[in-house]
Amino acid sequence: MSALTFELKGKPGQRLDMSPLTPARLKDLKPKEIEALAVGATRVALTVGDLFKVKGKDASALRFVGTDARCDKIGAALTEGEIVVEGDAGAYLGAAMKNGKIEVKGSAGDLAGASMSGGNIAIDGDAGERAGGVLVGDTLGMKGGLLTIGGNAGPLLGERMRGGFVIVGGNAGDYAGGRMIAGTILLKRKVGRFAGYGLRRGSLIFMEEPKELLPTFGDCGVLEFNYLRLLEHWLRETGRPIALGGRARRLMGDMAALGKGEMLILA
């Protein structure tokens, strides 16, 4: 069976709320019923049928084709199945998702993976601000799962994160890992200012030494970390070979907060 595919016919005149289009919601619906689902975000009613050419049958694997940055809430609160986005995604991509898999070939807007608690999001391009951060109305950021951003991440990456793993292939903005409670962020390139601001627990792993470090982090020197080998092994086994090595400079902080978090700057 081919994936249930939604091809955007033209530029929508308003932002869209794509959250009804999840495998769990669509699996028992007939094509007519799917086309009647409302995806508009204004008083001008818009349905799936108005905007998308719907093809394919397998609702456990959804494909969105030609989407742009106004397509919000793709895979929000996802609980199962797989979504592939061949285009860009708007805000709230996979926000509060619990399980399943989302793959975006383009870039994503703000709050990608915000407050997600499980599952897997892979964004080939960039992510906006607060990726893996706190969803509006929530108290905690990302709680579990894996968020991979191939390009750059905006500011407040992983804000108030409570668990899970974030990988940023490009640069990250200011306040990366701000007020983090637990979890791990792996930053392959540069970060902005104030990384780890208010860090309580959790790990920020830097492959490149940050230009500016908060003065409220204390140095433990360069040490061996078997944990890094464990991570490297897992990354390799899951098809993301990233050479971490076993040595890193450990900075503990934020001493202005609980101070049990760490920055590991690979040596």
Partner: protein
């Protein structure tokens, strides 16, 4: 009745009587194989018999760096006791005193089962609040700060109640040297079988026991029927020309693995043939009333 023989060595038509045990496996890694082995040997020391050691334990096999979670050389260790509560206590004490303490070590689960035993979940308290919990691939690991860096220890490991202890073969021969050499061969062959260990010194026990004693409070005593120096005084099981008897005891995670190990052991013992001085291979049992697992030698070599 024709006698069973392999290369002239008589296989006595009897059976090994074995008991249900609870067993677990953990993986110990270290900067090199030598240190993984040191940690594993220390942890499995004084673990020959549950009678007085509290547990039976041994090294199952060595692991190459590509077989371990942290890409370092490692060792798989098996630990057995008679019930789950004892297994938990033995695991905590042995890993806590012998692996946590060993330079550069790390410790991971070696079995995945629905129910599990605490591993890092109890050892983490050594970190005195500085321990760090990390989830990797859905599994929780504890990073416990120690003087040489960090002891990485998985939260829990699985265990099985289908383990079997006390699989055995007895080797009879015309000289001590011949029996020892044959048993060494057998232990080597059994080493290749997965899921089993031979917990006694070098895998061999020379003081097989019977249940009970003439002395009050002595629960096990020497197996006089197999003592060559007592042939004239007791109801001996030994022909006059037998000079020594040694036993190989096998514990395994499954009954099937014990059978495979016994088979490998028997063929390795008989390999040299009767000409090298081994006369009989038999097995220890208590008449079949005590243990539910009976490994008949005839079926095992078939």
């Amino acid at each position: 009745m024709s006698e069973l023989r392999i290369k002239g060595v008589t296989i006595v038509e009897t059976f090994a009587e074995a008991f249900p045990m609870v067993g677990t496996r953990i993986i110990i890694t270290a900067p090199n194989l030598e240190w993984a082995l040191i940690a594993a040997r220390t942890m499995t020391g004084f673990a020959t018999s549950v009678i007085a050691c509290g547990a039976e334990a041994g090294i199952e096999r060595n692991l190459t760096p590509d077989e371990t979670l942290d890409g370092r050389p490692g060792v798989a260790v098996l630990l057995f006791t008679m019930d789950t509560e004892k297994l938990q206590r033995q695991l905590r004490n042995r890993v806590g005193q012998c692996v946590l303490t060993s330079p550069g070590s790390a410790c991971f689960a070696g079995l995945k089962t629905e129910k599990s035993l605490k591993l890092g979940a109890s050892l983490r308290f050594f970190g005195d609040g500085w321990q760090v919990s990390k989830k990797v691939d859905g599994r929780r690991f504890w990073r416990i700060p120690v003087m040489d860096g960090e002891f990485v220890c998985e939260e829990k490991t699985g265990y099985t109640k289908k383990a079997v202890g006390g699989g055995n073969i007895l080797v009879l021969g015309k000289s001590h040297a011949a029996v020892l050499a044959a048993c060494e061969r057998a232990v080597k062959a059994i080493d290749e079988v997965p899921e089993v260990i031979t917990p006694f010194p070098g895998g061999i026990v020379r003081s097989g026991s019977k249940v009970g004693s003439k002395y009050k409070g002595q629960i096990a005593s020497t197996n006089d029927a197999y003592c060559p120096t007592l042939k004239a005084a007791v109801k001996t099981a030994l022909p006059l020309d037998v000079e020594a008897v040694m036993e190989i005891v096998i514990d395994g995670l499954t009954a099937d693995s014990i059978a495979k190990a016994m088979r490998a052991g028997i063929y390795a013992v008989a390999e040299g043939g009767a000409a090298q001085g081994v006369t009989h291979i038999t097995a220890g049992n208590y008449g079949g009333n005590l243990g539910p697992h009976h490994f008949h030698l005839k079926e095992i070599i078939a």
